[in-house]
């Protein structure tokens, strides 16, 4: 056998091996690309699902930088809403009816809040804590929060009509609003963490909410909110009230409505 046929044979074999390697490399690349597509789709699905548990902005921050427990001092308006007399009512209802009524209530209230640029921070039993200005700076947060509270009132009236038609008991709410500085951030343990606001602002909103029973109204705001409100909101001043943990009596107002026809001054 001469040298040339050997060289030709070697060349053919090398080409065949190279071609096989290239084909196999391409297949591997295609497989990896497909795997990446699948992972990417499942990540997007996960992000969408995760957004039901935490605000989208927070989900994005976590994706970009991991779970940071660094807090941020922010000016917020806290809205605290609670169902009046619901504990007694819950003892009379079947569990599945109770859950259905509550879910319908939360759905409508959450919509009223997010439609006015707030976000629901947490549900506590039948209570709702919503924050305005915690995720993004919002100089119009007081107006937004009171508009949200008025929308919640309207939503509840409409929900009550539905409940009544179904022969179910109707609901009543008390809403308290306060504006102030708080520390916003991801708070919790390694097993359970949530984005919320820490500080007196939330406590005061919750405390003012409890006064709605005493004054026989559904929405109460503190003067810290009132000072930043559009003058077209119709308010009734209420007697200043001692609030636990606050040295001076807190000036509060009940919210009547919003006069669209009136021109702001």
């Amino acid at each position: 056998m001469g040298v040339l046929p050997v060289l030709v044979l070697l060349l053919v074999c090398t080409s065949a091996i190279l071609a096989t390697l290239v084909r196999s490399g391409r297949r591997e690349r295609a497989r990896l690309r497909d795997a990446l597509e699948v992972k990417s789709s499942s990540l997007e699905r996960l992000q969408t699902s995760f957004a039901r548990f935490a605000p989208e902005e927070i989900v994005e921050r976590i994706i970009a930088g991991g779970v940071s427990t660094r807090g941020e001092r922010v000016m917020v308006t806290a809205l605290f809403a609670d169902l009046v007399g619901f504990t007694a009512l819950s003892e009379q209802l079947e569990p599945d009816v109770l859950v259905r009524i509550l879910n319908g209530y939360f759905e409508r209230m959450s919509r009223a809040i997010t439609d006015h640029r707030g976000h629901v921070s947490t549900f506590v039993g039948d209570g709702i804590l919503a924050l305005f200005g915690a995720l993004q700076p919002n100089p119009w947060q007081a107006n937004d929060a009171l508009h949200a509270a008025l929308a919640m009132r309207d939503e509840l009236a409409s929900y009550n009509r539905e409940l009544q038609d179904d022969g179910l008991p109707t609901l009543a709410i008390g809403v308290g609003l306060h504006r102030g500085i708080g520390v916003a951030g991801l708070v919790g343990s390694r097993d359970l963490i949530q984005f919320t606001l820490i500080g007196r602002t939330v406590n005061l909103a919750a405390r003012v909410q409890t006064l709605t029973r005493q004054y026989g109204v559904d929405i109460l705001i503190t003067s810290a909110v009132q000072e930043h409100l559009d003058p077209r909101f119709l308010l009734n001043p209420q007697p200043a009230t001692e609030v636990r943990g606050i040295a001076e009596p807190v000036a509060i107002y009940s919210a009547v409505g919003f006069d669209h026809a009136r021109v702001a001054r």
């Binding site: 990446l36 990417s40 997007e44 902005e57 995720l135 993004q136 700076p137 919002n138 100089p139 119009w140 107006n143 930043h228 559009d230 003058p231 077209r232 021109v263 702001a264 001054r265």
Partner: protein, 358 residues
């Protein structure tokens, strides 16, 4: 980024009108075709801005397209996303290469200095919170000088402007989404790339003359001195202010609302100065910006101001629905100028959040 191509996108909210004058202006000034030009015919400064802002960069020419793509994806702007993919194709990249590039952006697999610039641009666009001194220091450590940082910031706000203009008007998505690697385009891609490189040779920046240091938002323009885009922004602002579709006071109010929403103090001060020149006392401007309502506002302004507030941070489908609601109250030119001014204000008012502005 298949998901972005599924983002809900309305039919255009503005009317298209063929305008021979505008077409001949485009032939003289534009480096490429602008198929959406007829939609901007009633407000020519917006098209001029669109064309002028396509000017290329000197220090960041290699990453300018990536910045634009990153911000446009972040803002879910299907139009700009399609357009930037188209531009990258013109520069010689294949569909597969662009897909790969996107994956590298997503996984921060690009060079560290590029990742830093993209992250900075993303934060300029989001402005919640905007990048701070530490972020600028990180860019300097990565090898970007002050002029390059200005260019990165400007490219980010350029995308902020275009994303809002395209999304809020629901400009037609057009051919940019349909181009693929087959047919004539694939065959001529290299030719296109050579032609594009010639067209996009960066201009040399000239310092601003004293005359260019005056006019609305000159404080922001001056802060950009040293990059080509300073002169462009001056020209865009002057044309926008001279356009007759909305009164100048309405434009100043729009800038005031965006500045207030972003917490951009130098931009808000300039809005007050401009409104003072219109005869408005500071306490009345305070009242308007506090509640976006006042007896002094006319009916259109009373509708426009709450709308423009929603352009600072938005979800694309909801923003388009709100635009459609406003459109019902305004004429074509008024609506175009409202959106254009809001987009421009979002661009200009973000600059003081990252650069030193007097």
């Amino acid at each position: 980024m298949k998901a972005l191509l599924d983002v809900e996108w309305l039919e255009p909210l503005v009317e298209a009108r063929e305008d021979s004058e505008l077409q001949s202006w485009l032939r003289r000034n534009a480096p490429s075709d602008y198929p959406h030009a007829p939609y901007l015919a009633d407000c020519p400064w917006m098209l001029h801005a669109d064309v002028f802002l396509d000017e290329s960069y000197i220090h960041i020419n290699d990453i300018a397209g990536l910045i634009y793509m990153t911000v446009s994806r972040d803002n879910s702007c299907r139009f700009c996303y399609g357009a930037v993919r188209f531009l990258l194709r013109l520069q010689g990249m294949s569909e597969a290469q662009i897909d790969g590039l996107e994956r590298e952006i997503d996984t921060a697999a690009l060079e560290p200095r590029v990742n830093k610039a993209l992250d900075f641009a993303r934060r300029v666009s989001r402005s919640n919170p905007p990048p701070g001194d530490d972020d600028k220091r990180a860019l300097r450590d990565a090898g970007y000088g002050d002029t390059a940082i200005k260019e990165i910031a400007f490219q980010a706000v350029d995308a902020v402007f275009h994303n809002r203009m395209a999304t809020l008007l629901a400009l037609p998505l057009g051919a940019s989404e349909l181009l693929n690697d087959k047919g004539l385009f694939a065959a001529l891609r290299e030719e296109f790339a050579r032609l594009w490189a010639k067209l996009m040779t960066p201009a040399t920046p000239e310092r601003l003359t004293d005359e260019l240091k005056t006019g609305p938002y000159s404080n922001v323009v001056v802060a950009l001195d040293g990059i080509v885009q300073a002169r462009i922004l001056r020209r865009v602002l002057d044309e926008a202010w001279a356009s007759p579709n909305l009164p100048t006071r309405t434009k100043a109010l729009i800038f005031g609302v965006i500045a207030r929403g972003l917490g951009s103090a130098p931009a808000e001060r300039e809005a007050y100065r401009l409104l003072a020149a219109e005869g408005w006392a500071a306490d009345r401007v305070d009242a308007i910006l506090a509640h976006l309502a006042a007896p002094e506002l006319d009916q259109l302004e009373a509708r426009i101001l709450p709308y423009v507030r929603e352009t600072i941070w938005y979800q694309a489908p909801a923003a388009q629905r709100r635009s459609r609601e406003l459109r019902a109250w305004l004429g074509n030119g008024q609506f175009l100028e409202t959106v254009g001014t809001a987009a421009l204000a979002n661009m200009v008012c973000r600059i003081p959040l990252v650069l030193d502005v007097a």
